[in-house]
Symmetry: C2
Subunit: 151 residues, 2 copies
């Protein structure tokens, strides 16, 4: 699998047509597992681990291996973002499901909340001076949540 990122910011989650066309344009097939996994991501507005995704599959025939392969594929195709919360699991979230956002994770209870604030406009532009192009960023916050602080 060497497909370059090819989703030009056009994919809207649940937009099955767009989903199909991304796969088609790479001669990849629209299969049951791929559709179900995409829908699971769509209906969960927080990053999911491989085993969380696997656990939500209704088609219990679908193998864990398929989930791994699918997430790697989706990542290459620019359908999902890989997100790191500094624990032992990689998490995945649909790109463009909602507008661009970040997360705050409680260091104690590991609860996750979305954070709508993002980098100021033009922040990435500053970096163009470095000679890099196609710049993206990953930004996550960590803290102690209200309940954990009082507990």
């Amino acid at each position: 699998m060497q497909a370059a990122k090819s989703n030009n910011g056009k994919f809207k989650a649940g937009d099955t047509a767009e989903f199909r066309s991304i796969l088609n344009s790479h001669s990849l097939k629209v299969t049951k597992p791929r559709i179900e996994i995409m829908k699971i991501l769509k209906s969960n507005h927080k990053p999911l681990t491989i085993s969380e995704i696997s656990g939500k599959l209704t088609n219990k025939k679908t193998d864990l291996v398929t989930v791994y392969r699918t997430m790697n594929l989706f990542e290459e195709l620019g359908i999902v973002n890989q997100i790191d919360f500094k624990d032992e699991y990689k998490r995945y979230e649909l790109i463009y499901d909602r507008h661009h956002h970040h997360h705050i994770v409680c260091r104690k209870c590991r609860k996750v909340e979305n954070v709508e604030t993002c980098l100021p406009e033009g922040f990435e532009k500053l970096l163009l001076k470095t000679g890099y192009s196609e710049i993206t960023h990953s930004l996550e916050f960590f803290g102690i949540c209200g309940s954990c602080k009082t507990a």
Copy 2:
């Protein structure tokens, strides 16, 4: 190992006295491997993987397992930061070695450069409204570097 973070922003890399006192205050010992690993991190101003650290050890007797244990310890003590570049390796960098900074990683060649720009003042303060305290952030940039673009 359950020591809470206890380095109140005071540790300066290479400041062996401070390093010793952090360990001492937790009844932990200042050993050869710990010192050498700290120095390796100090002299490499970019995040290192476990195996990179292991490879730089001059005392070849030091076991890989010790590197793992040491990095977990340093992280709990707030001596290092764990950094994620979305590949298969966790990386570690000394905190306070230089002033707070971030990185930009080339998605092709995986080269890493430091980025001095950080979040605007007051950015994290906005998040206090969410009820979280002791907020930190992780921010990394990804892009295609100059040489990879022309190549």
